[in-house]
């Protein structure tokens, strides 16, 4: 399919402006600052743009088009009403007097509170733009906290080898050294190794619970106790919050800081990679470190942007965060209620365990026990048929199913990480199981079917080596 630039033709347009209604003046600035050649943007008529994006859209898999069991990404349904409600707030400038934005501020205030309640935290910032951004926020809070308390020797952040890549990257960005703790044979943090590595130089421990294997860290209370004994903070990566809403709260487990992914747990659409939104909640002792501003309520019942946070880590981004993502998440929380959120978590976990049980006979499940919202297939057994997890995944595409997350977590070789979410039906799961078994049969009978996959997709298997070698990143 042609690029929109390849469809361009001199003299075409999709746009016109009203005639300039003010007297024209000569452009007054140094000649070298005036553009000589217009940016070579496409020149296309409106129908061409329309068809271009119509064609492109049809080449995308999406939650709307089918099952999307991408582990760790919580590809749940994005309700239609969320979009409509977000559309009500498109035309607000961030520097408008608060008197005129009371509704928007109240929404943020309520959302801060709801997220605090769900996570068991005392204060929440909505500023971070994504999960990783929330992690960075959290790590900067850790830094500020240790600086403030004079813990000058605290230079390390501990995290398990099953952690998301963003965890070490965020810790590093905040200037910490990253210490990995191996997972034990049960897929949880190895408590002994953890104890060995835990000392006063540790600033924080980053965990997600349930962890990326979908398993609940059963020693969490012990870990929290140890952390706090060493004046380290416990950080909760909210990627897997969808498993435990209304069941158990990070705050109650002993976590001091938590980020939440509104685009995962709270159903805001992933938008091809973003925008997300990664609010961060903290315990009371860390409230004064939150980025500025947060939304507060004054004594007259007016909402306002509170910049008076003396120990604040500063700012992580401009303005107040991804507001229209917040509107969607807020709509979702109102729709679901405390009862619906809890039920969502339960059904997410039910779905994952159902799939696990249905697949465990023919596939090797890593750590095959009651999981939470996701579980991992260990794909090493596929080697005997001469195929890899990658081939298996590509073959799923031919059946119209988006493959699970592959090759993550790193501690399971040839991993396939499956997170069905609660918005998929038993029928959909059964269909997935059938397809998985069918592909396995194909692998056994003719590995070429997998290795040559996909065949029924808009393009066939793409060559990443060529792409990285040639590095053609623009037309």
């Amino acid at each position: 399919m042609k690029l929109i630039f390849e469809k361009s033709k001199e003299g075409r347009t999709s746009f016109s402006l009203p005639k300039l209604d003010v007297p024209e003046q000569k452009i007054e600035m140094e000649d070298e600052l005036i553009r000589k050649e217009k940016p070579n943007l496409p020149q296309v008529f409106e129908l061409e743009v329309v068809r271009h994006y119509n064609d492109l859209e049809r080449k995308n898999h999406s939650v709307d088009s089918g099952f999307y069991p991408l582990g760790s990404c919580t590809m749940k349904y994005n309700p239609m009403i969320n979009e409509e409600m977000a559309g009500l707030f498109n035309n607000i400038h961030p520097y408008i007097d608060e008197e005129y934005t009371q509704g928007a501020l109240e929404l943020m205030y309520n959302l801060q509170n709801y997220l605090g309640e769900i996570t068991g935290m005392d204060a929440v910032t909505l500023q971070p733009a994504a999960g990783a951004h929330g992690e960075l926020t959290g790590m900067l809070i850790v830094r500020k906290y240790i600086d403030d308390n004079g813990y000058t020797n605290k230079t390390k952040v501990i995290l398990p080898d099953s952690a998301h890549g963003t965890n070490p990257a965020s810790a590093k960005m905040a200037g910490f050294d990253v210490i990995e703790v191996k997972s034990g044979p049960d897929g949880r943090v190895d408590l002994e190794e953890f104890k060995e590595k835990m000392d006063d130089t540790v600033a924080a421990i980053m965990l997600t619970n349930p962890n990326t294997l979908g398993l609940f860290e059963k020693d969490i209370l012990e870990i929290a106790k140890l952390a706090h004994e060493h004046n380290a903070l416990l950080y909760y990566d909210g990627a897997n919050l969808n498993a435990i809403m209304g069941k158990v709260r990070p705050g109650d487990m002993g976590f001091d800081i938590v980020h939440v992914n509104l685009h995962k747990t709270f159903s805001t659409p992933h938008g091809m990679g973003g925008p997300g939104s990664g609010p961060v909640g903290v315990k009371a002792k860390l409230k004064d470190y939150l980025p500025k501003p947060v939304v507060d309520l004054n004594e007259d019942g007016k909402y306002y942007l509170n910049y008076d946070i003396p120990k604040s880590i500063g700012r992580l981004r401009t303005f107040y965060g991804n507001f229209s993502v917040m509107v969607r998440a807020y709509t979702y929380i109102l729709s679901m209620g405390h009862d619906g959120l809890k039920f969502a978590s339960e059904m997410a976990v039910l779905n994952a365990n159902y799939l696990r049980k249905k697949l465990e006979k023919e596939f090797k499940i890593a750590y095959d026990e009651v999981c939470k919202h996701e579980f991992i297939i260990d794909g090493t057994f596929l080697k005997e048929y001469g195929v890899k997890t990658l081939d298996f995944a590509k073959r799923l595409l031919d059946y119209g199913i988006h493959p699970p997350t592959i090759y993550f977590p790193l501690i399971v070789h040839e991993a396939m990480m499956i997170e069905p979410t609660e918005t998929e039906s038993k029928e959909e799961l059964d269909h997935f199981v059938d397809v998985m078994h069918k592909i396995l049969e194909e692998a056994k009978s003719d590995a070429e079917i997998l290795k040559g996959a996909p065949r029924n997709t808009p393009v066939r298997r793409l060559d990443e080596k060529v792409a990285n070698k040639e590095l053609k990143v623009r037309f």
């Binding site: 690029l3 890549g165 435990i244 091809m272 507001f323 609660e422």
Partner: protein
């Protein structure tokens, strides 16, 4: 059993599934979790769509809708016209509800759209490579500073104090914990441009990069070329650009910029109370391996047909973990695609015309305001569509009255600069009609002399 529109499970389903799993009730799935929380979350019960809509409409009704306002305020977020096709096309559901294109073969819509976006950003900025988006302008600047340090291994950045003050704050937050340093460079009180002498004086050995804004926060167009000329060879020049202005202003890449970043809201994103918008990020090709964020590249499929994939993933956190160029994972792809559609719709001629009209409207506004004799001029430097004037009256009072007329007046710069309190940062775009401008002038004319 209560039913939820977003959850498909019937009682029968649950029973059958529990049987397969071998459990008798759902609680068993949570038996390994410590009993730390009992009862219900303190959140209202689930609501019907009708009730939810009512509740949120009520909030919306207590929130300004600037679609109906004459807008004379910018300061980083601008009210530009968004053609109807832009949102309708970019927010099609199979764009909206897709995720990061991990499986390229079923994500060619996303990948080609972002490849086209990268191309458009290169065209605008005059750079060789661009990534597929950052969170916003502020974090893009911060990441550019970090990138510069990775490139030249120096630890200090000089930032023009006429960069958007929030960008400076964000940059400071990002870099200080990495033991990098940030120092600001004064603006020239006469021109509003960066104070070249102050800049020169601060250009020590340890300087990694210099950050300027184009135009700057006061609306004044910096002379990139003149700045570049005073920089030692290894110091990277980071330019934060206003993309609409690039329809009229020379591409920063042609004037010596090494990294060009900026806030993308103005090209096809709603104001949305400041977010989500997106940051764009472009640089010379030689630095591509130090870039943060996702980059899309062209390749071929098994049949030799063109296709697109994510490239240089080894820079990224999911591969490189602590050694990644950035921790960024989710970006603002949807916003980037919105702007890519925008740039396709307005096209080569349209963007130039938009920029030209912005320039003309703002200059007409400035001229008319000065003619009222109720303002003093502030900066002499050339400006694009924003400018600073010093009113001889109380700006906040005036602005309050304007709201009642469905007008939004200039930003009081006292919000960010103590020395510029009661100075107004005015903005005009292609959406400001002469009629609106003349009405604003008439309102200025009415200001009671007592106020002066």
């Amino acid at each position: 059993m209560k039913k939820y529109p977003y959850i498909p499970h019937t009682e029968e389903d649950i029973k059958e599934m529990m049987e397969v799993i071998g459990i008798k009730n759902i609680k068993e799935l949570y038996s390994d979790i410590p009993k730390l929380f009992e009862g219900d979350l303190n959140i209202p019960e689930s609501k019907s769509e009708i009730e939810v809509r009512r509740e949120i409409m009520e909030l919306a009704n207590r929130t300004i809708n600037l679609d109906e306002y004459a807008m004379f305020r910018g300061a980083g977020i601008y009210k530009h016209y968004i053609p109807s096709a832009v949102y309708q096309l970019a927010t099609k559901r199979n764009f909206l509800t897709a995720y990061t294109p991990y499986q390229a073969e079923v994500s060619q819509g996303t990948l080609q759209a972002l490849y086209e976006f990268q191309t458009a950003i290169c065209e605008l900025t005059g750079m060789e490579v661009a990534n597929s988006s950052m969170y916003d302008g502020g974090s893009a600047v911060a990441e550019a500073i970090l990138m510069a340090s990775r490139i030249n291994k120096k630890y200090k950045t000089l930032v023009a104090s006429s960069l958007h003050p929030e960008y400076i704050e964000v940059s400071r937050t990002y870099i200080e914990s990495q033991n990098l340093e940030l120092e600001t460079v004064k603006y020239d009180e006469k021109t509003g441009r960066i104070d070249i002498e102050d800049l020169k004086s601060k250009l020590t050995e340890d300087i990694s990069s210099v950050v300027i804004s184009y135009p700057n926060f006061f609306g004044v167009v910096e002379n990139i070329k003149a700045i570049k000329e005073v920089l030692p060879e290894k110091v990277l020049l980071i330019v934060n650009a206003y993309p609409i202005a690039l329809g009229l202003l020379e591409a920063p890449g042609k004037l010596g910029a090494d990294i060009v970043v900026g806030e993308g809201q103005s090209i096809g994103n709603y104001m949305s109370f400041g977010g989500p918008t997106f940051g764009f990020f472009a640089s010379k090709k030689q630095y591509i391996r130090q870039m943060p964020g996702r980059i899309i590249g062209e390749t071929v499929d098994a049949d030799g047909n063109r296709g697109f994939v994510m490239v240089l993933q080894t820079r990224e956190q999911h591969i490189r973990r602590a050694k990644a160029t950035s921790n960024i994972c989710s970006n603002h792809a949807l916003m980037a695609v919105l702007s890519s559609v925008y740039l396709s719709v307005v096209g080569k001629e349209g963007l130039a015309e938009i920029a030209y009209q912005n320039y003309q409207k703002a200059h007409y506004l400035a001229k008319k305001l000065m003619e009222t004799e109720k303002f003093e001029p502030v900066f002499e430097g050339p400006f694009f569509n924003e400018f600073v004037l010093k009113p001889k009256f109380d700006l906040d009072e005036f602005n309050k009255k304007l709201y009642e007329e469905k007008f939004v007046g200039p930003l009081n710069l006292g919000k960010f600069y103590n020395e510029l309190n009661n100075y107004g940062l005015f903005c005009a775009t292609e959406l400001n009609t002469k009629e609106e401008i003349d009405y604003l002038i008439s309102k200025v004319g009415e200001i009671d002399e007592i106020n002066l």
